[in-house]
């Protein structure tokens, strides 16, 4: 329901806001307002989740904060709008949020007809299945005839249909809007299978399951789910800021710069490090930011590896390995473009 209201609001907003797409208005608007409005998940452990004190935490949330640091040197100059899968696109299209950092899969349709520009991937994921252990299922190929709980408005819903069609399996979907209700239906036994991104399954099993050991995640990963922050079309400067904040965190890890040893690198002879940290000026100015922007981001938020380990790494309840999200030099896919 809320999605419909939001979509309706977006419809009206699109109708009224005339000529809102000149060059660079987003940055000006945010500076005037004094904070970044960021769309995040309503509750996904490790990615976007309010903790017991009501503070937002998670990998996606940290990227919102990183952008806020790049702009204001303050990770708290950000306001979060929790969005369901269905609400997120109208919210970013209508300008209700400046940045959508909500485990959103990059796809061609979203990049084009939905009107989004995707920053670099912050988490390489894939869709998996979770089943109760007592079913004795060992592989997704054995799931013919199963009832599957899935959240509406996600690529998950489509991959699920594609996978079962490809493998000639029958299934019965139960499609619910809110992720909490989807999880509740699965754990109550309404469905045999819960499907979402593998990271999401790990988070749900760790945080929601009454007894995590009663559930297993099947080995099949049935899709590519590159998750990335997104902005709307029409403001290249704002897009560049978000994009290079993501690259900056990866580049810092490539160079071995962390939030702890950052100041040692201020005297580094490496000209790229000098450019990154603003010792040699120019990079920040090109983005329309202070030259110290990336220094501040690393200082306050840490590099990509730190953000990963803090939120979803092996020491967290999610216990996720770096896998595809390791640096390209370590067999993963995280690769920053040159700071030049």
């Amino acid at each position: 329901m809320k999605a419909v209201f939001l979509a309706a609001a977006a419809t009206i907003a699109l109708g009224v806001a005339s000529g809102a797409a000149q060059a660079g208005p987003t940055l000006d608007a945010i500076k005037q307002r004094g904070f970044v409005q960021c769309g995040v998940n309503t509750g996904l452990a490790g990615f976007g989740n309010p903790d017991s004190a009501g503070n937002w935490t998670g990998l996606d949330v940290d990227y919102c904060r990183a952008v806020a640091v790049a702009l204001f040197n303050d990770p708290n100059k950000v306001k979060f709008t929790p969005l369901s899968a269905q609400q997120r696109f109208p919210a970013i299209q209508s300008g209700e949020v400046d940045l959508l950092s909500r485990n959103t899969t990059v796809t061609l349709t979203r990049d084009t007809s939905v009107g989004l520009n995707f920053a670099p991937v912050t988490y390489y994921d894939g869709q998996g299945f979770m089943v109760p252990k007592k079913l004795g299922v060992k592989s997704a190929k054995e799931l013919s005839g199963a009832t599957v709980c899935v959240q509406s408005g996600t690529t998950t819903e489509l991959n699920l249909a594609d996978y079962f069609r490809t493998n000639n399996l029958q299934y019965n979907p139960v499609v619910i809007e809110s992720v909490d209700e989807v999880n509740a239906a699965y754990f109550a036994g309404r469905c045999d299978v819960l499907t979402t991104d593998a990271s999401g399954l790990a988070g749900t099993r760790a945080a929601v399951a009454p007894n995590p050991d009663d559930h297993i995640i099947l080995p099949e990963i049935i899709s590519k789910e590159p998750l990335a922050p997104a902005v709307r079309h029409g403001d290249d400067q704002w897009f560049d800021i978000v994009k290079w904040t993501v690259y900056g965190a990866i580049a810092a890890e490539e160079k071995g710069i962390t939030s702890k040893n950052l100041d040692e690198f201020l005297t580094s002879k490496d000209p790229e490090i000098q450019r990154m940290l603003g010792v040699a000026p120019g990079m920040g100015g090109a983005l329309g930011l202070d030259d110290k922007w990336l220094y501040n981001v690393i200082k306050k938020m840490g590099n990509y590896g730190e953000i990963f380990e803090r939120n979803v790494g092996v020491k967290t309840p999610l216990k996720l390995e770096r896998g595809l999200n390791a640096l390209w030099t370590k067999g993963g896919m995280q690769y920053a473009m040159p700071f030049r």
Binding site: Q86, T147, Y171, P173, V175, H233
Partner: protein, 397 residues
Amino acid sequence: MSSEHRDSAPPRAGFVFSLNDPTVRSLVYQILLIGTIVLIGWFLVYNTLDNLSRRSIATGFGFMGREASFAIGESLIDYTPKDTYGRAFVAGVLNTVKVSVIGIIAATILGTLIGVARLSSNWLLARLAGGYVEIVRNIPPLLQLFIWYAVITESMPPVRQALNPLPGVFVSQRGVRFPVPAADPVWAWVGLALIVGIVLAYVLNRWGRARQAATGKPYPVLLSLLGCVVGLPLLVYLAGGAPTQLDVPELRGFNFVGGMVISPEFFAILTGLSIYTAAFIAEVVRSGILSVNWGQTEASRALGLSSGHTLRLVVLPQALRVIVPPLTSQYLNLTKNSSLALAIGYPDLVSVANTTLNQTGQAVEGVVMIMGTYLAFSLAISGFMNWYNKRIALVER
């Protein structure tokens, strides 16, 4: 010459443009108002399209013909992910119609019973009905849906330990499964015979009544009704070889296979909406009955009518005039509230359209389609109810 001629002509009673003329004035204001509305509408549409194309967001309804690639939990028509968005939308619309029609019937029956019970001279019955109304109508419908959904998914046994109250009937978290006659071409003919029978009964009934009015010969209403509606399909069934094969559900793999199922989602939305709306209908019925002067009841009793006849022939026809207009609003509410289905996973039209607008990113078109469909439903319901209202209205003689 000409001027003379004009002068001598009788003064034209025709049109003089002056704002002092009330007719002209009201006309000008109306034109101005309509013009402004059209202009604002045009501005909004134009600006939306302009903004959408500026952000290179796709527009138009071309996506309706593309493959949907998502599955729908339950559908009245055959639907697979290979079908188009258009067909998915139709499946969603039919699911909304299904829950609305059954819900309206159930809510009307339940609401009437509760409304009458609230007026009962039995103290306990009246208080129970009063309590029902006050509790149910003061809890938001979304919460009630969650409660009903939780009741089934949490309190029913898992599918492998399904309750088996009757042979072939299984009750579990996955809903109620019951056997249905196995597919046979005869059933299509029986269905056709039923429709023919209903039409025939209606025609015969009218003819019979006209004859009774003209000649006084009584017409056996019940017998002809039974013959047409039950007898005719039965005859076709027997002529078709009377197939007795049943499609009985059985546990195979993860779920029961075969038979028919009432899903927990459908059950929750139907029960939730019926019970919620029934509380309002009960009040409508009660106020309608109370609006009929007690003297009417006394008069009909004095004439020797039984209490059943009093209710049916004297009170209800008068009460209906008060009941029908607010009842129409309740029907419209129930239909619109069915959009809450999304929260508990019943694939109604909003659910399907939402998935569609999410996959295609075409929020404007999706919302327009949802609004248009609900508008059409509402207009159809209120059109029918207005017709019915006119039919039962007091005819001044």
